[in-house]
C-alpha cells in the first residue's frame, strides 16, 4: 500500500527545548491513526507539524522531513496554503467563527476563490451531510454558529474542513470538550469519514483510541516509543513504557 504521510528523522525544537525527537512514522491512506501519550509528550506538537501550524510560533525550529504524497512538507518551495487545504485540522475546542452556519462552511471555499452561489450551496450541503449535521441545521443555516451546542459546533468545524475538500484530517482531541453523547456522534462520524479521508487523531482516551483507530502511536517525552496496529499495541505492546501507560501506571 502507498504511504500517505511519512515522518523521517523529524526533530522539533521550541527555542532550546527539543519537543520532538527523531520521529519516524508511516501513515497509510484511508485509515485512522491515533496518537496517545501523557500530556506534554509531543503528540499534539507532532500533529501540528503535519500541516505546519507550528510555523505560527516564531521560536520553532525543524529538522528532518515530513513527506506527504511524496513531497516534503518542509521544503521551502511548499505552498503552505495548498498544504493546509489538503491537510485539514480540527481543534480541541470547537472554534466556529462568529458568523452564520452557512458562512462558516462557505468560508473555506470562498477563501479559495469559489464565488458561484449554486456551487457554494451544494458544497455547504454536502459538507454538512458529510459531517452528519445536515438534518439538525438544514432549516437554520443563517443562524449564528455560536448558538449551536458544543457537539454540533465540533461537527460544524469538521464540516467546515470537508468543504475545502482535504485529503488528510488532523484531529487534536476533538471530543475532549464534549459530553458522552456528542463524543459518540463524533466517533461514529470518524468511522464514516475514514472511507474517504486519512485521519490522524490525538486523544487522551484509550478506549476511544481502541474503538476508532487502525494504527496506534505512543508518544513519551517527545519520542515515538511504539507504533503499530492498534490491536497489537493494545494487547501485546513491545515496550515496557507502553504497557505501563496502557495499564495506567503513569500518565
Amino acid at each position: 500500500m502507498d504511504l500517505k504521510v511519512k515522518a523521517q528523522q523529524f526533530n522539533l525544537y521550541y527555542g532550546n527545548f527539543q519537543a520532538l525527537k527523531e520521529i519516524n512514522m508511516e501513515i497509510f491512506p484511508k485509515t485512522v491513526t491515533a496518537l496517545i501519550g501523557p500530556s506534554g509528550c509531543g503528540k499534539s506538537t507532532f500533529l501540528r507539524s503535519l500541516n505546519r501550524m507550528n510555523d505560527l510560533i516564531d521560536t520553532v525550529r525543524i529538522e528532518g522531513r515530513i513527506i506527504l504524497d511524496g513531497n516534503n512538507v518542509y521544503d521551502p518551495k511548499t505552498d503552505v496554503v495548498a498544504l493546509r487545504k489538503k491537510v485539514g485540522m480540527v481543534f480541541q475546542k470547537p472554534n466556529p467563527f462568529p458568523m452564520s452556519i452557512y458562512d462558516n462552511i462557505a468560508y473555506g471555499p470562498r477563501v479559495h476563490g469559489i464565488k458561484d452561489k449554486l456551487r457554494l450551496n451544494e458544497l455547504v450541503e454536502r459538507s454538512l451531510i458529510g459531517a452528519a449535521l445536515w438534518d439538525e441545521v438544514k432549516d437554520r443555516l443563517q443562524s449564528p454558529a455560536l448558538r449551536l451546542s458544543g457537539g454540533q459546533q465540533q461537527r460544524l468545524c469538521i464540516a467546515r474542513l470537508l468543504a475545502v475538500e482535504p485529503e488528510v484530517l488532523l484531529m487534536d482531541e476533538p471530543a475532549s470538550a464534549l459530553d458522552p453523547i456528542s463524543t459518540g456522534k463524533i466517533e461514529d462520524l470518524i468511522g464514516e469519514l475514514k472511507k474517504n479521508y486519512t485521519i490522524i487523531i490525538v486523544t487522551h482516551n484509550m478506549q476511544q483510541a481502541a474503538r476508532i483507530s487502525d494504527h496506534l502511536g505512543f508518544f513519551l517525552l517527545g519520542s515515538l516509543v511504539e507504533y503499530g496496529l492498534t490491536e497489537k499495541v493494545m494487547t501485546n505492546p513491545e515496550r515496557k513504557e507502553t504497557e505501563d501507560y496502557l495499564t495506567g501506571r503513569f500518565g
Binding site: K77, D79, V81, A82
Partner: protein
C-alpha cells in the same frame, strides 16, 4: 508555484503597506518636533535659553521675550490644580475602589466619563460665567486670576487622576488586603497602611499625568486667567500661562514675535516630554512591583 508566488507577494505587499501606515505616528511626531523647532529655533538661538527662560519681561512690542512670567503662571495654575485635584481625585478613587457599592460605582463612573469628555472650552466658559464673577464678589479684584484658572484645571484633571489611581488601587494583590484584615486591621487602616502604599507608584503616575494635562491645557486658562504676562504678586491676580500666551497672541503675531511663540511651544513640548517620561517610568515601576 506561480500561484504561491503571487500569494506570497501579495502578503508581503500588505505587510509593507501596514508597516507604512503604522509609521504615520512616528512621522507625525517627527514632523511636529521638526516644525515647532524650525519656527522657534531662531528666537531661541538669538536670545539664548537662559535669557529667555529667566527674563522677567514678556513684551513682544519691544522685542522682550522673557518667559519667566509665563513659566510662573503655568506653575501656579498647575500647583493650584494639583493641590485641589489630587486629594479630591485620590479620595474619589479610593472611594470607588474600596467603599462604593457596585450600584453607586455604576452611577459615578459615567459621570466621571462625562466630566472627562466635556470640551475644555466649555470648562472655560463655565469659569467665565460663574467662577470669575464669584471670585470678584468674594475676594475682590477682577476675578480673572491664576486661582480661577487653577480651580477649573483641578476639575478638568480629576477624571485622569481618579481613573488611573483607581486602577492602581484595584491592581494591588488581593492577598495584601486579606492579610491586613486577617491581622485585625480595620478597613480604613488597611486602605491607608497597605493599599495606598502598594498602589503608590500608580497614584504618583496619575498625579504626574494630571500635571501634564494641566500644563498643556489652553482654552480654559485663556478664558479665565486674564492673560496678563506679568509675574503675579498673588494668586488672586491675573496672570498668563505658556499655553494661554500662544493661544492669545498667535493670531496677530508676526515675524520674530511669532517665532517667540514657537519658542514657548518648544519649552512647553520639553516640559511635557519630561513629565510624560516620569509618568512612563512610574508605570514601569508599577509593572515591576
Amino acid at each position: 508555484m506561480t500561484n504561491q508566488e503571487r500569494t506570497n507577494r501579495k502578503e508581503r505587499n500588505i505587510r509593507g503597506l501596514l508597516f507604512g501606515i503604522a509609521s504615520v505616528a512616528v512621522t507625525g511626531v517627527v514632523l511636529i518636533i521638526l516644525f515647532v523647532f524650525k519656527e522657534g529655533w531662531p528666537v531661541l538661538f538669538k536670545y539664548g535659553p537662559v535669557a529667555l527662560f529667566t527674563g522677567k519681561v514678556w513684551q513682544p512690542m519691544t522685542a522682550d521675550y522673557g518667559m519667566l512670567p509665563l513659566i510662573v503662571g503655568s506653575t501656579y495654575v498647575t500647583l493650584i490644580a494639583l493641590v485641589i485635584g489630587v486629594p479630591l481625585g485620590v479620595g474619589c478613587a479610593v472611594f470607588l475602589a474600596e467603599i462604593a457599592s457596585e450600584t453607586i460605582g455604576k452611577m459615578i463612573r459615567p459621570a466621571i466619563n462625562l466630566l472627562a469628555g466635556i470640551p475644555s472650552v466649555v470648562y472655560g466658559f463655565f469659569g467665565l460665567v460663574l467662577l470669575v464673577p464669584f471670585l470678584r464678589m468674594t475676594v475682590g479684584g477682577l476675578g480673572f486670576s491664576l486661582l480661577a484658572g487653577g480651580i477649573i484645571l483641578a476639575i478638568m484633571i480629576l477624571p485622569t487622576i481618579i481613573s488611573v489611581s483607581e486602577d492602581a488601587i484595584r491592581a494591588t494583590p488581593r492577598e495584601y488586603k486579606e492579610a491586613s484584615l486577617a491581622l485585625g486591621a480595620n478597613h480604613w487602616q488597611t486602605i491607608y497602611k497597605v493599599l495606598i502604599p502598594a498602589a503608590r507608584s500608580g497614584i504618583m503616575a496619575a498625579v504626574v499625568l494630571g500635571m501634564g494635562r494641566a500644563i498643556g491645557e489652553t482654552m480654559a486658562v485663556i478664558m479665565i486667567t486674564g492673560n496678563t504676562p506679568l509675574i503675579p504678586k498673588s494668586l488672586f491676580e491675573p496672570g498668563a500661562t505658556l499655553t494661554g500666551t500662544i493661544g492669545q497672541e498667535w493670531a496677530y503675531a508676526s515675524g520674530e514675535h511669532a517665532g517667540a511663540l514657537f519658542t514657548v511651544g518648544i519649552l512647553l513640548f520639553g516640559l511635557i516630554m519630561i513629565i510624560n517620561s516620569i509618568a512612563l517610568f512610574l508605570f514601569g515601576k508599577k509593572v515591576e512591583s
